[in-house]
Symmetry: C2
Subunit: 163 residues, 2 copies
């Protein structure tokens, strides 16, 4: 039925980021509520950030609108304009193609959470603001490269054992 | 900037419903947060329901996914399966094309509010579950008719002065 039972929606952890970049989002988990309800046109994820965790590497989307509402705790939105504290009920919008990279960080000692909506498109490119990386997504999956399309370097993604 | 100042986002009241049907959503107001943030691919509206108010006439969409999260108070979701109480944090999803008409009603003595996300599409048809009406939307606007496409009757939409 349309009303969702959030207690039955699994928490997903981990990340598609290559190599050690996955460590950047340790402490993040999310429930794919839109998927659980059978939606296909946009994602609606409830993301939980443990103290110190980040929503993602700071990035922006070429084709996909994104909308966020904080639902619990305090998140710090970091974008090109600086830092902005967000409390429950506070919202932010990131139009497709606006090259203002953004992410949310939990700098408090308590858990925080937010609802994030993002359009689904057949293909997408996202750009990372603080490192030399982009990702191209299509039906075959996600391909992370440097911004010029060349492979990521071992220095960028090497496992800790190399460090 | 991406973070929205909700205190500066106007509350819209009124309705596109024809004739006296507009009275069905008295007590409803909404802030178009996605529009305020420059989004175009989906609507993200914060809807406030005064005691007794309804979100809409009960309806479903042919082409547009819809997602709801209650943010304040208690809403009663009414759909083909019955009635479901929804508290802050509770969510519901309505996939495009699922003919399960739905709306939210505030049956409490306190205000209630919810965030609703709906895909934007160039054209759309929505069907009303409890009355003989549908609406076809395209670039020229919204056209309300009976389900067979014939004009609504005076009995359906006549002003109170005729009653």
């Amino acid at each position: 039925m349309p009303k969702l039972d959030l207690s039955q929606t699994p928490f997903r952890t981990g990340s598609g980021y290559p190599g050690r970049l996955a460590e950047e989002v340790v402490g993040r988990s999310s429930q794919r509520l839109g998927d659980a309800g059978g939606l296909t046109q946009f994602g609606a994820n409830l993301v939980r950030l443990e103290p110190g965790a980040k929503s993602s590497l700071r990035h922006w989307h070429e084709q996909q609108d994104e909308f966020v509402m904080v639902t619990e705790g305090v998140c710090t939105l970091i974008d090109d304009d600086g830092e902005h504290q967000m409390h429950p009920g506070d919202c932010a919008a990131f139009p497709a193609g606006d090259p203002n990279g953004h992410h949310l960080v939990n700098r408090t000692d308590a858990p925080a959470a937010f609802l994030v909506i993002g359009t689904r498109t057949p293909t997408e490119t996202a750009h990372y603001s603080d490192i030399d990386m982009k990702v191209v997504q299509d039906a075959t999956g996600s391909k992370f490269t440097r911004k010029d399309g060349s492979p990521l370097t071992a220095d960028q993604i090497g496992e800790t054992k190399h460090g």
